[in-house]
Symmetry: C2
DNA sequence: TTGAAAGCGTTACCAG
DNA sequence: CTGGTAACGCTTTCAA
């Protein structure tokens, strides 16, 4: 029932606890020397007892626990799993584990989560927020006192004196809009499904500006707000399709919701891309396999995760290095879900 | 830099450490009484210092850390995220956190992961394995010595004296095959993408048996083995489509790989379900949104996760209760990706 | 009602 | 080369 301790190992091997500690943590090669046969006896004893060191005791003594905290807003979105996988592989290389805390799109849980990782005294902290305005206070509190903190995505705006990683959503959006406009789309709907108001602003701004520039008044008219699930993306798209005149293209805040959009369009009997174009953001693994394959903006979620973890380790090793603020490039990925705007008889649809 | 301790709080409030402990852990209402003003002073002091109790010290003292370990083989598959979410919500209700360990489809990492959670002395352990034959030894070692262990899925076969949860894949497969056979399919391909040999056996067996019963010789002829990614499902399906005569239906081991199958079929210019039917397992959230919506077997992954976590807590509260072994029902979900076998001129295609 | 002290399992410093 | 011993931060029993 009770786990064996170093004392048990020491007793079985007939040595003192200190010697066990030395041998088991491999310090026997360096400054401390140990007789080979005692060494073997200790290792043997540890094995027969199935001894595993107690992480809590270790952490208490060394004030480090080889754990990096990762706050994630929504484990329902593939984007975050990709990011997690990136962070995980990088952490694993350095022998660190990840304490994943799902904040489940709830500002209260975001605050709780921060306190939870604080209590655990994680060696580093990667933060992705959905409600950074309401949690900013708590986050700022963590920064400076705590071990390395890396802000990921929109959370970077909370405190610019902290390391941060984000994707160039602005640039990606500009490319995407240029693509759609070049295909002669002008009535472009936007399914804007975010958890909190400040999120996804870069994408929204780029969308509006591109429309203005191409002479569209009232660029916000075709923005349909909704939540963050596929279902809500599906519904929002339905509302967009009910508009008259109907949009010739629909841009969706991310690929997950874009799946819902594809469905809504299909159920209306419209063909993609002949009758209407659909595009998303993120390039989740499913994007190129759906029907038709989804045009999207690739943001390299895994690389975001890897980079953030790398930065965290870099700061651990050199706390005084200048603040790093990385913006990873985003690129347009053209697939089958976008095509030329259909020729129509209304005020925009000049034949191409 | 250094986190404040209870001693710091005590000093600031002008009381002893013990009093701080009493007040902060809310024991002041019961057997221990405390003056209201000292109480307030302590709470105030803790707040101004931003004190958070050290989880390691707490864990060392109480030998419990309010953490449940969860071993997951592949964070790339939505099935496991759903399961995680279920486990997470249940754990959160009881004030427990989850230590997620991704074993990344690697038997060595599965062993490492088990030792990692052992070292952390988690209060309970939920295990999903991809290589239970190669890790069985390690797992059996954990059982009995350790706090509650719940085996999920195929891992349940390792040790039947331990609580376990699994889905009725056998029953689900039988329903699925009955469905396809009723649609007059006889040349049914099976994309069998699993991490290790013993996985997915129930599904394979049900598939073969159903074919035998309906008079198909050599039921394994149309089984195409592959790995666990969408890409590999896509490739395996291509190989299946190269067969001659071509299958009239393709069953895929899970919905994720079925996405790859849909793509492969589409690229051959075949219509679903008129020319060929496709079906999967799991009913991941994307399944009803792909085009066409995917016929599948719903296994309620979230419920599996919730149930496993529930069982873990139940055993914590009553270590001597009889072993529970739950098999959750699976149900056929009919959507647009399956339809009648096309009429053909060969030996099976009788007009319907 | 509050304080002093022991102990949880480690590691690391100093003597032997 | 090995063995005591203090300290990490917390809870809890026992005295005051």
């Amino acid at each position: 029932m009770k786990s064996p301790t170093q004392t048990d190992v020491a007793r079985l091997a007939g040595v003192s606890r200190a010697t066990v500690s030395y041998v088991l943590s491999g310090r026997t090669g360096g400054s401390i020397a140990t007789a080979e046969d005692t060494r073997q006896r200790i290792i043997q004893a540890a094995a027969t007892l199935g001894y595993e060191p107690n992480a809590a005791a270790r952490s208490l003594r060394l004030s480090e626990n080889h754990t990096i905290g990762l706050l994630v807003p929504d484990t329902g979105n593939p984007y975050y799993w990709q990011l997690l996988q990136g962070a995980e592989t990088e952490a694993h290389l350095c022998g660190y584990d990840i304490l994943l805390v799902n904040t489940a799109l709830d500002p209260i849980r975001e605050c709780d989560a921060i306190r939870a990782v604080l209590r655990r005294r994680v060696d580093g902290l990667l933060i992705i927020l959905a409600f950074h305005d309401r949690v900013a206070e708590e986050v700022r509190n963590v920064i400076g006192r705590h071990n390395p903190v890396v802000l990921i995505g929109d959370a970077a705006t909370i405190d610019t004196s902290v390391d941060s990683v984000r994707s160039d959503h602005a640039g990606g959006s500009v490319q995407m809009m240029a693509h759609l406009l070049a295909l002669r789309h002008r009535r472009i709907g936007f399914v804007f499904g975010v958890a909190g108001p400040p999120l996804g602003q870069e994408r929204l701004t780029a969308y509006c500006e591109a429309l203005w520039r191409s002479g569209v008044q009232d660029a916000e008219a075709l923005v349909e707000h909704c939540g963050v699930t596929i279902e809500e993306g599906y519904r929002a798209t339905q509302r967009l399709l009910d508009r008259s005149p109907r949009p010739t293209a629909i841009l969706v805040i991310n690929d997950l919701l874009a799946l819902g959009a594809l469905r809504a369009v299909d159920e209306r009997g419209l063909r993609i891309p002949q009758d209407i174009s659909v595009a998303g953001f993120d390039d989740i693994p499913m994007a190129r396999y759906v029907n038709p394959p989804l045009t999207t903006v690739r943001v390299h979620a895994d690389k975001v995760g890897r980079t953030a973890m790398r930065m965290c380790f870099d700061r651990m090793h050199d706390p005084d290095r200048p603040t790093q603020s990385v913006c990873l490039p985003a690129e347009l990925v053209l697939r089958g879900s976008t095509g030329p705007a259909p020729a129509t008889t209304d005020d925009y649809g000049a034949a191409r």
